[in-house]
């Protein structure tokens, strides 16, 4: 099913306050043959358990799992960073977890995921910053852009909390600013986009 010949291989998403409602407008929209891997940092309390995975497994066509340590990243799978761990991507396109200090008051941190994923995927990566009430994700999104990836930010007017999208918009010239409902369908068109 995986469309490995496409330009993009992976999507990273950073989201905080208002995140579950926002992700509900994106992840269930993606079809079974989406073909790209998705890695998601949703800020969540340290004892948040496996809630996100259970919640989204029910509504998504794609497989939804909690990211484990040193696992090969599979196309067409949604990986959530576990509560209280940073999620990183190795150059070999495997996952890695750490319990390092919080970044932007967050663990998991979107910046940590974005910066490492940017180096692993370069121009085959799509980075998305959604609703949230802190600055996490802005620096990471800038790194994605710098290494040739595609950058998307949820339009502040469609965001429950505007700080995170605004911080990203301030940190770089993003490629696309989209309303929440537009993001899922847009990803579907990107997934089939070929190398130019």
């Amino acid at each position: 099913m995986a469309k490995k010949s496409g330009k993009y291989q992976a999507v990273v998403i950073g989201v905080s306050a208002g995140g579950i409602a926002a992700l509900e407008k994106i992840l269930p929209v993606l079809p079974e043959d989406f073909g790209l891997a998705l890695l998601v940092v949703q800020h969540i309390s340290a004892d948040g358990g496996n809630y996100l995975v259970e919640h989204f497994s029910a509504s998504c066509a794609l497989e939804v799992v909690e990211a484990a340590d040193k696992e090969r990243i599979q196309q067409g799978t949604v990986y959530f960073a576990p509560p209280n761990y940073h999620l990183l991507v190795e150059r070999a396109k495997t996952t890695a977890l750490t319990v390092d200090a919080k970044v932007n008051y967050a663990r998991p941190s979107a910046d940590v995921l974005f910066e490492t994923a940017a180096e692993a995927y370069c121009d085959a990566l799509i980075g998305i910053v959604l609703t949230g009430a802190n600055n996490d994700g802005a620096a990471g999104l800038a790194r994605i852009k710098q290494l040739g990836g595609l950058t998307i930010v949820q339009s502040p007017k469609s965001a429950e909390a505007t700080v995170m999208p605004m911080a990203a918009l301030k940190a770089l010239t993003v490629d696309h600013v989209l309303d929440l409902e537009e993001i899922g369908p847009f990803l579907v068109t990107l997934a089939t986009k070929r190398e130019e």
Partner: protein, 279 residues
């Protein structure tokens, strides 16, 4: 884009040469640490030191021992808590302690003990279970500076609220404040807690088997290693445990894909507690 990828490759090459240089100059081996993490840590030090690249960093690291000492701290794992994952300690109390009570004497090894928070957690637990006099705890880390912090048992005052909450959730039997005194900035753990603890230097990446242990704690250390080093360390733990001994890993660490798994049974899946088979 080819150019950007080549730049990243070049940078990676420099980084590997830096780690090779550190190993040959000082004997500390970070070559098999997980790369993305190692790079983030070094990148932090490179930026605040005003160095342009890892080649410059290599030069400074091999000539300037003080600079190397700070690098060593950057590469050490030093984020932990007392009674981290309280439900884990609850399981230790309920599942491991009854076995320990059957021994006249037993040994516990905290491998990669960092600043000692988990060592003191276990010391408290064993004291409360009236096992203190029967135990010898070994606490090891490769970083001497962090080890000397561990020996002191002094932690920032602002951490105590978290530690206390963890202790209560872990099934602690006393008041947590029985175990420390505080000044305006620190909590100082009761020195009697380390009566049965021996702190010493040991590097999981390069050193060998460590005694005949009854319990090994190594939580949230393996995630910093690549698969090969993880496997080496799990072998080392397997050889360091007596039959029926327990191995406790971090919640996101697993022996599932290791060749040593055949020598163990999983006794607590969520808490990642394994027991070595008696054969």
């Amino acid at each position: 884009m080819v150019k950007k990828k080549q730049l990243l490759e070049n940078e990676q090459l420099e980084l590997e040469l830096l780690l090779e240089g550190i190993y040959r100059r000082y004997g500390y081996d970070f070559r098999d640490y997980a790369k993305a993490h190692t790079k983030r840590r070094l990148e932090y030090r490179r930026t605040i030191s005003g160095l342009n690249n890892y080649a410059e960093m290599l030069h400074q690291a091999i000539y300037d021992e003080d600079f190397f000492t700070s690098l060593l701290l950057d590469l050490s794992i030093n984020v932990t808590e007392m009674f981290r994952d309280p439900w884990f300690y609850k399981e230790v109390r309920e599942l491991v302690v009854p076995h320990l009570k059957t021994y006249p004497f037993f040994k516990v090894w905290h491998a990669g003990c960092s600043a000692g928070q988990e060592v003191y957690s276990m010391a408290i637990l064993l004291e409360e279970e009236e096992l203190k006099e029967r135990t010898q705890i070994y606490a090891t880390d490769f970083n001497e500076r962090i080890l000397s912090q561990a020996k002191k048992g002094i932690y920032p005052l602002d951490s105590i609220r978290q530690y206390t909450a963890n202790y209560l959730k872990s099934g602690g039997l006393q008041s947590f404040s029985d175990y420390y005194t505080a000044d305006d900035r620190h909590v100082i753990l009761k020195s009697s807690l380390r009566e049965r603890v021996l702190f010493s230097s040991h590097n999981l990446a390069t050193d060998g088997v460590f005694g005949e242990m009854n319990v090994i704690f190594c939580r949230n250390v393996l995630i910093y290693f690549n698969k090969e080093l993880q496997e080496r360390v799990l072998q080392l733990f397997c050889e360091s445990l007596c039959p029926g001994g327990f191995l406790c890993l971090g919640t996101k660490e697993s022996m599932k894909f290791s060749t040593v798994m055949e020598h163990f049974e999983e006794v607590a899946a969520r808490e990642k507690i394994y027991r070595k088979k008696r054969r």
